[in-house]
Symmetry: C2
């Protein structure tokens, strides 16, 4: 997908005004020794625009900071990154779309961190109407406790080392599906390659805990707010594979797609709750930022 807008972020600049430089997105930006490209050594976030306004900015900045901390990168300047996202959004001039922003450990030749932000146009996934998903369960290989016992595995950080996530999506395609829910080696539901799971079980909406080494879901958090406003019960707790079989509805939440209902799981048709999906979408689409 072609980006519409590219800004380079100079992390040594003293203030946002002098840090930001608009460049041609099709022109080279990074050296061949940038550690983003040679080691996947950096972190990122993707923010969706609704009516041109970046959504859940604070939650995304919280997670960006958390990811940077897990990778021992310099703590991101929130004012700077908020400014760059707003600048990209303003210059895109689209009602829906997405801004991706990236912090790399930088060029190994200079030791300087690098930053950039990309504005992407709306796609069929950014219409505000989430797609219905065919999902497979795939082993993530890790126990649910590795974020605590082995923090160097970086579970819970949104890193640029996403080759496994992309390979899992290709595996889903081979199995006739379009998305994945990862399962820990000890049998717990984790997250999607770029989404957060919500399961409705006995009338309660449940998402797994971040202590399992998964990302805190910015869209899932807003979806929970929508559900609570509607009088529904929500909970954060462990879900096993058999819990999922008992669920009467499932969603995968992400910034770009919203709360997307799961219509099949490992080839078995799932009940899609259109009314709840629309209620969450309406809430997400009515956010002011």
């Amino acid at each position: 997908m072609k980006p519409l807008v590219l800004y380079r972020v100079d992390l040594r600049a003293g203030d946002p005004a002098s840090a930001l430089e608009r460049l041609d997105p099709a022109a080279p930006l990074l050296t061949g020794t940038d550690l983003a490209a040679t080691r996947g050594d950096g972190v990122f976030e993707t923010v969706v625009l609704v009516d041109g306004v970046p959504q859940a900015m604070e939650a995304h900045l919280d997670r960006f900071e958390r990811s940077a901390s897990l990778l021992e990168l310099p703590s991101p300047d929130r004012v700077l990154w908020r400014t760059v996202v707003e600048r990209v959004a303003a210059e895109m001039d689209v009602s829906r779309g997405a801004v991706k922003y990236i912090l790399s450990r930088g060029d190994e030749a200079t030791g300087e961190p690098t930053g950039w932000a990309l504005g992407f146009a709306p796609t069929r996934h950014r219409t505000g109407v989430p797609p219905e998903l065919d999902v497979v369960l795939l082993d993530r290989g890790y126990r649910s406790d590795v974020a605590t016992t082995a923090p160097w595995l970086l579970q819970g950080a949104k890193t640029l080392s996403y080759a496994v996530n992309m390979a899992a999506l290709r595996e889903a395609g081979r199995r006739g599906a379009s998305d994945v829910i990862f399962v820990s080696s000890d049998g717990y539901i984790l997250e999607g390659p770029n989404s957060t799971v919500i399961a409705r079980i006995d009338g309660e909406y449940v998402t797994p805990p971040v202590e399992f080494g998964i990302l805190p879901g910015t869209t899932q958090a807003d979806a929970f707010e929508a559900l609570r406003e509607g009088g529904d019960r929500v909970a954060v707790r462990a879900l096993t594979v058999s819990d999922l079989s008992d669920a009467d509805a499932l969603w995968l939440c992400s910034s770009t797609r919203g709360a997307a209902p799961v219509r099949s799981l490992d080839g078995v048709a799932q009940h899609v709750d259109h009314a709840t999906t629309e209620r969450i979408s309406a809430f997400l689409n009515a956010r002011k930022g």
Copy 2:
């Protein structure tokens, strides 16, 4: 570290002569949407130069092909990549050094794979005399069977998604060590973040099997050849953590450092066999390619 030479590899070109373009290594090469940089989605190899000659080229190309296949990337053209490594080596004009070559899934804006190769000058690790290493054991989080049961985890591929490897080396630093041996969640010795393990147990030199989801070691293979030539017994088989405690000498093999002896493991001093280390180094340094 600053590279001395950079070549861009045009993967659409029909022949090596027109595919290679020498560029300034300090100038931008990759767009901000190259999947190497945004997803760690590509593969690489690093070849050491001895007397200006790239070593173990065929073994590296074999592994490059294997990695590309695991990531479902286009199969690398061996003639093209051999040519670019030789060209970089020739233009570096150093007796020792290293050439790193990279294949990325490419720019997501165009869908075209990207390739490049970097020539690095000698460092203290590329003198032909391997350093002595302080090593810690760290959990890799994966069972020893995931390469078979969960190929989407890409274990056994040398990918650009190396953030975990870099985080493990930082963890080693925090523990007063300089390197790592990864252990599977079911207790088997795997590999280092960028090296292959050899343990001497009861006079036999042992390295773990690639079926455990580790990289086939190009330098370890040559070290085994050196050992066999000297009349030593070598074997590929599973090693447990307690096997390592029984080992009377340990090495970590990599292209850039050679067969580097382990002088401490988790803070416990290890016997360094200088004679064997020198014998392997002499063999590695006498290779003709």
